[in-house]
Symmetry: C2
Subunit: 217 residues, 2 copies
């Protein structure tokens, strides 16, 4: 009987080591305790991950997540096909509205910005591709959870960030929400009631993105 959960026991253990140090750096002894692996095994696996840059040692010699994960994480975000497919429609939305436009996908209990175009205005809201945001704040999060008004879009004003308004629409594959497209900007420009002005644009953008990504509606 194999003792693996994924089919490759060493990968299971290596991920266990990464997960152990995800929230705080750990000295070897703490790593042994947290993972349940023997001291020699913990040391060998952690050293191998360090060799590849997935772990590093902090100033006190504790193991912590390494810089290679930053670049892999960034590459992972670029690899969403919907982000690529959304490019033209996102550019149209940004140009038509003059405001920053973003595309979000859901990742467990959070949302990730997988594509982001900034408004040409000197002052604008900026969400970097790769940013991780909550689902329960902001129109993009509520669009992802399906909490959408009868007109097909969601509005938030000063909800996730003071001074910022946003309007979002969900993107469906069949009946499943797979992404959300948003415009956002300063309340001063979008007003406290941005729905009528921007709602139709984000709904159209959502439809265009679904088409471009080949999603069934």
């Amino acid at each position: 009987m194999e003792h693996t959960i994924s089919g490759v026991g060493v990968i299971d253990k290596a991920i266990g080591v990464l997960a152990a140090v995800e929230h705080e750096p750990l000295a070897l002894t703490a790593l042994v305790e947290r993972t349940g692996f023997s001291r020699a095994t913990s040391h060998r696996l952690a050293s191998a991950l360090e060799f590849h840059g997935l772990l590093r040692r902090d100033a006190e010699g504790r193991f912590t997540l390494g810089t290679r994960l930053v670049s892999l994480g960034e590459a992972a975000e670029r690899a969403w096909p919907i982000a690529e497919a959304a490019g033209p429609a996102l550019a149209d939305l940004r140009d038509a509205t003059g405001e920053s436009a973003q595309l979000y996908v859901r990742d467990g209990g959070r949302r990730i910005c997988v594509a982001s175009l900034e408004s040409p205005h000197g002052l604008r809201t900026i969400v970097a591709a790769g940013a991780v945001l909550p689902l329960d704040q902001g129109s993009g999060g509520r669009a992802l959870t399906g909490d959408v008004g009868p007109d097909g879009y969601v509005v938030s004003v000063g909800e996730r960030e003071a001074g910022v308004a946003s309007v979002s629409a969900p993107i469906h594959s069949g009946t499943t929400v797979v992404a959300a497209v948003s415009v956002s900007g300063p309340i001063e420009r979008l007003t406290r009631d941005p729905g009528p002005t921007f709602g139709p644009s984000v709904v159209i953008a959502a439809s265009d993105i679904a088409d471009a990504a080949g999603l069934k509606g």
Copy 2:
């Protein structure tokens, strides 16, 4: 003779698979070609990585980097000790200047924002922690490369982003630049000559951060 480079051959191979798909999604056959592993091995390793979320399948069944890497990458960025140590000084800088403040470290040929506090102004520049930016654009990048004026700070106006000005100072450990602290905001508020107003503040912040992080000056 072992055929490993890190001490754990399976980890070497698993990283090889991740590296193979870093830049573009690969079908199994392409993965076999790119890695040189046998078909069965490639499939087994990729499936195990997929199980743990480090890979996923795109709509065409190709292997591509998975969402777990996004969250690990984000956690990796939070794990810089200087980011933690910089918290109070960064807050002081933001409060004293009223502008967004960021801390950058160098990662190869790029810079990573490892801590970020936003201005209370309704309109402000925002750099998400985790954002990856170039070294050759913006005052933060030039501070990291040591390209600093005689007053100890760097200024950029409309260089990395139109409408944005920033001022940065390097943070040294001994004679080595290990980080850079920046303030940034709209040119309209920072003016086209933000150095005299903000330069001394970032230089003080850099010194405070170096002290807080226990760096030798």
